[in-house]
Symmetry: C2
Subunit: 134 residues, 2 copies
Amino acid sequence: MLTRIDHLGIAVKSLEEAIPMYEEAFGLSCENIEEVPSQKVKTAFFNVGGTHIELLEPTSDDSPIAKFIAKNGEGVHHVAFASDDVPGQLAQAKAAGIRLINEEPVVGAGGKQVAFLHPKSTRGVLTEFCSPGH
Amino acid sequence: MLTRIDHLGIAVKSLEEAIPMYEEAFGLSCENIEEVPSQKVKTAFFNVGGTHIELLEPTSDDSPIAKFIAKNGEGVHHVAFASDDVPGQLAQAKAAGIRLINEEPVVGAGGKQVAFLHPKSTRGVLTEFCSPGH
């Protein structure tokens, strides 16, 4: 079952410019900044009532986030739903005709199980299922 | 203060096609379908742990959602944060240099106070502040 929206991934050109906006204009606090070399991104997390905003800055021109920004500009990159059963959730989606990017969950930040669904089969929304918690 | 992510607005070409995806592939239940003539949209709501997914189908070619889809394709249209003080939240954002679409809150669905921030000043994310609850 999908239990909540775990986080929204938002592609930005520069954390240095984007973080102050979320802090000063929105009144949120940056909890954590982390570099994820495998994804070629630097991330910053903000908690809003239990759902996180995950800002994603590309650290290289061939980062998936750099390519996203080149094509679409800055904006919402993906929507992540927490599930109490990621493999079962993937199986249900696949049975309903959804194309999976990850057929099996992979280990993501904080040791979470994560898996992505292809946006071409989810009406333009790059969708992630992940295990709950940090 | 921003207390939570109230909803995500997602632009779709057809509720008839999108609703079964959210129900069958994601296991969510459609709570409500409503037409909003002033916005030229038909909306469908799904609850995920207290945050709502709001699917938006244009009912006319000159609907803002029709224009969004023509430009960007289907996908995330806006992110709405619940605030316990919408006018104060707008004032804080404006003081931090954010361009407001609504200088004052307007009355939205369910009698909520709602106001939009211009995506050009919020790094590509059309952002809404709204009063909490339904």
